[in-house]
């Protein structure tokens, strides 16, 4: 009947908090190996591919800036997914929430452009968050009220949101002044655009979100009653209900917060990169889905989302560089990402295996 935790033989010299990080590393290396095999099958040198990939991601000041810039919406979307995971919810509607958030912030900024920047900037950001939250809430309500699986409703709401926003920017909200071929809104006031923080690159002030949001979320999860209620709901909803936590309320709250963060990612793209809403610019980037993968890979740990988000951004940026300099297609990045998703299926096994090895080594 010996149970693992209380036996004195298993003193933990390696803190178990390190295990998730090791799991991420192992999964990533395995996924990269899959990519290397794919390159080899294509008749190219995997070593060259990796070299060019790394050079493309972090080889120059410009490339580093590109990776960092790309990581901003990815990490914020990853954090949005993380909030859902903590409450046991799979918000697959990040992309739609991001897109409505972006449009709402662009429209708000233009509509209220008479306001001073110090007021207009937060209002613009809040408009993006609110739009994202509003798109996420119906799905949460349907689940709590009618048992409609959130995973389906959020996924399908993406289509409605993305196509409806596309209609809006093609028709009533389209900027006809410049005669641009791409459907887009009018540019937002210059005063509220995020400044570039690395001259000569496009790296903007949105990067600070990566420093502020993860500790804030970690604090909420670990140190507040709300965070406790969310975590318990995620761990065991029956237990939460038994203990007096309203699972319905937690589901609505977590989805609103998750949608708000996805909307924030959209607003940050508008404020820092595009300075207007451009049709398809956010969906083509695939930020929301990459962010979702980053969150799964980080096992819903907000600090780790920054690491995995940066890694995935670097992978995508690096692959583009690799394609430019070699004949190796950038789709290799997709293969690696697919490999990661694949690896996630065996994540728990890797964790168990690691614990087993680490613990038995310590015993000997």
């Amino acid at each position: 009947m010996s149970m693992s935790a209380d036996s004195p033989a298993k003193t933990q010299r390696i803190p178990s908090a390190l295990i998730p990080i090791l799991v991420v590393l192992i999964l990533t290396i395995m996924a990269l190996l899959i990519g290397a095999v794919a390159v080899a099958i294509a008749g190219k040198s995997p070593l060259l591919a990796i070299e060019e990939l790394i050079r493309g991601a972090v080889g120059t000041r410009n490339n580093i800036a590109a990776t960092l810039t790309r990581s901003i919406p990815i990490v914020i979307c990853g954090l949005a997914a993380t909030v859902g995971f903590k409450a046991g919810l799979f918000n697959l509607g990040l992309e739609g929430q991001m897109v409505v958030g972006a449009l709402a912030s662009a429209v708000t900024a233009n509509a209220l452009q008479g306001l001073p920047a110090i007021v207009l900037l937060p209002v613009t950001i809040l408009a993006g968050c609110a739009a994202g939250a509003l798109l996420a809430l119906p799905a949460a309500w349907w689940q709590t009220r009618f048992n409609v699986p959130l995973i389906i409703s959020t996924l399908l709401l993406n289509y409605i949101a993305v196509l409806f926003v596309s209609y809006l920017v093609n028709n009533p909200l389209r900027d006809l002044s410049g005669g641009a071929a791409v459907p887009q809104t009018v540019m937002i006031p210059e005063a509220i655009r995020f400044g570039v923080i690395l001259s000569g690159t496009r790296l903007h002030a949105g990067i600070f979100a990566l420093l502020i949001l993860p500790p804030l979320l970690a604090w909420i999860f670990r140190r507040t009653r709300l965070g406790y209620q969310l975590r318990m709901t995620g761990l065991n909803p029956d237990f939460a209900a038994y203990g007096g936590i309203s699972v319905q309320r937690m589901t609505l709250l977590a989805m609103a917060a998750s949608g708000a963060l996805a909307g924030l990612a959209g607003a940050v793209q508008v404020l820092g990169v595009d300075f207007r809403f451009i049709d398809n610019s956010l969906t083509a980037g695939g930020y929301a889905w990459t962010g979702f993968i980053a969150a799964i890979l980080a096992q819903a740990n907000p600090a780790l989302v920054v690491v995995t988000g940066l890694f995935l951004a670097g992978l995508e940026v690096g692959a583009a560089g690799m394609q430019r300099n070699t004949q190796i297609p950038l789709q290799i990045a997709d293969i690696v990402q697919a490999g990661i998703i694949f690896m996630i299926a065996v994540r728990q096994r890797v964790g168990q295996w690691l614990r087993h090895i680490l613990l038995s080594e310590q015993r000997s």
Binding site: M1, S2, M3, S4, A5, D6, P8, R222, R223, T224, R225, L226, Y228, Q229, R231, M232, L235, N236, D238, F239, A240, A241, Y242, G243, G244, I245, S246
Partner: protein, 504 residues
Amino acid sequence: MANPVPIVQMTGIIKRFGQTTALAAVDLAITEGEVHALVGENGAGKSTLMHILAGVVQADHGQISIRGNPVTIDSVETANKLGIGMVHQHFMLLPSLTVAENLTLGREPKRRGFFDRAAAAKAVTDLGERYDLHVNPHVRVSELSVGDLQRLEILRALYRGADILILDEPTGVLTPQETQGLFRVIRELKRDGKTTLFISHKLEEVIEIADTITVLRDGHVTGKPQPTMTDSQEIARLMVGRDVFLEFERPQLTQGAALLEVAGLCGKGVNGVTFNVYANEIVGIAGVTGNGQTELADLIAGILPVRAGTIKFSGKDVTRDSVAQRRAASLAYIPEDRNKQGLAPDGGISDNLLMGAHSRPPLIQRGILNTAAIRQRTEMLIQKFNIKTKNANNAANTLSGGNAQRIVVARELADNKPLIVAAQPTRGIDIAACEFVRDALVQRRNVGAGVLLISADLGEVMSISDRILVMYRGKIIGEVAGLFARESDLGLLMAGITNVNVSG
């Protein structure tokens, strides 16, 4: 008279599951035609040993001989061919098929290549006649009572030609009358020369039915007491390895004020229940599992919606109050299933101990957790309730069942709430933890709490209740004073028979 060669001889059986040794070189000899009881606590290895004999799992080391011939039992099929059949604790029947179809499943009688329904039905009645095991062959299994299901499982083993019948905790789901019926069947089987292996932890039953008793503890055989010369105390000592107090000292107390008043309560599975629980008393609710007891507890706690009727705590109507309001007011609730409801198994011990108190200053101030106060409370509870763990942040599922139940009990009894609803508080835990939990409930009763004890274990209900209510099909159909309770009377009530004089 007895055959000198044992019908089953298991020698040096070793079985490990990961780091845990379930069986450490166990020897077991079974004489043909005997009723052999295997007793031990949860995790002692009795089920594992029988699973090895029945081919469900394979031993790591050791030999098995059947009638003196060494055999390798590598599958359930092999065991069946050797005449070994097992009736599992959880029945393995197909609910949508009839009794006859279930009985013959896999070995269907055929006529011109098609299933011979008449022959299958005849097999049910023939076997039933022979062993006094009557089940209607044409009824769908989903419509059978638990007792019928068990009879069908035994019939199925016999149909497959079992001479050695293994019954895994067969009486756990039965009323005392049904248990007596099962014992008649076992005696009938014995008369027919069959050998029965009987796994149980109900000691009085074992003494009544067994010819031979083997006691297991932590994967070792610790004794083979003679049923005619032993008693529950001795067997319990062999099971636990020390003296066990099966009786509780309870001073006679006068009922205090009404702490819980339930009137005309209706909801899922509960059809018009009325009773009170007063200060200084333990009210036991007995009944066969599935007669609305679980739902009654969830209704009182506010987890299930009330359709009609009222619930009052200390005179205050709480029928429309939320779970949180009821808990904050006066309710402690030990739920029936700790892994489903009572714990977040993947959550830390500290988080699990905080549930329900997660809105109360000084643990939480203005929505922010006071980690120092929480840590202090956690450590106090771990110590006071003797939860064995090295680190309060370890996940609850790293603990043994008894230890995990201590978390639930510690959390619910921590704040000295006046009203305690305890549903199956000792299910699936070791004897030491059992004693501890029962003692804790009695202690609270002695200092003025009211306890509603819901348990499928009649022995538990009878040992600590001041009054016993019996639930049947969502209603309370009888009340017996704890001191005068007779198992047979309760059993009749549990079976829904009310026209008996239960005054004692």
